[in-house]
Symmetry: C2
Amino acid sequence: MNFLEERIIKDGLVKEGNVLKVDTFLNHQMDVELLDEIGREFYRRFSDLKITKVLTIEASGIAIAYSVARCFGVPMVFAKKAKSVNIDGEMYTAEVESFTHKNKNQVIVSKKVLSSDDKILIVDDFLANGCALQGLISIAEDAGATVEGIGIAIEKGFQYGGRSIRNLGYRLESLAIVESMDAETHTIVFREQ
Amino acid sequence: MNFLEERIIKDGLVKEGNVLKVDTFLNHQMDVELLDEIGREFYRRFSDLKITKVLTIEASGIAIAYSVARCFGVPMVFAKKAKSVNIDGEMYTAEVESFTHKNKNQVIVSKKVLSSDDKILIVDDFLANGCALQGLISIAEDAGATVEGIGIAIEKGFQYGGRSIRNLGYRLESLAIVESMDAETHTIVFREQ
């Protein structure tokens, strides 16, 4: 097991409805040393790529994106989930369904911050059905940018998001892939990688 | 002028309606070196305090909170703006009005991640009328924790948030306080600190 899988076993909680709660260390309270390590690990895995920008979606992806972007020495961009008066001018948009919140969001990125020269690493904390990720890919490609790689902290391997995005040919790496989990017995099985 | 004031003059945009846009470097696209410097500067200003946790609100506050929390070597917590299935159990809540989005949000923090022993540094990117900040203060105090200090990147000095929170006795430090700005002439005047 790697450092993240070990931490999930130690502090993660499995709840009914295939919910894995990591809110004491990854997406509500955040362990900054763990975030630093996640950043370094994604850098290690993608350091052969000439990344110019790290892209994520608010909110929990932001800290991971910052951590990775620090290692590459490039800016990060987080897509916003609703029209804000603080983004004006031309925008790239995509519609995204949230597994967590059971609703649909318009996801937006200002045209000012993505260009056709950008080589993008997309990162996020969770991958389940892949809707958020597909929204980010669609925005990056609308900008004419190249999606060089995708780094996910925790992938739910029993949902279809990871498979469908790999089938599209993207280089997707997840630090922990949950193969199955059981709320009753509090067990989590990770995919061998 | 300090490093943040200089950056605002260089890359910030003043828009009608007292909107200061910093979305190319602080709250949409983020310059990671600037974020690192903001973290170090808040650490310098508050290093006399025994901080146990950094608290902010999603979304733009998250990167700043992470940066500061790294310097203190403590966890960070970001308050969420809506009920999520990923927070369960007991929660602290506050109602917060958004200047940016012109709506009201329920702001929540899980009771698991704040305790009466916590000495809290609250940070955020913007302070205008102070509603978000008052929500965070109220949540911290509901938990019985102590709000030791408040660090804001950009304060709109011509709105009442900063004054009312200082009047309540909180130690509030803003890296840049905009005294006035003019969309027509593109001028920004900072308060001498």
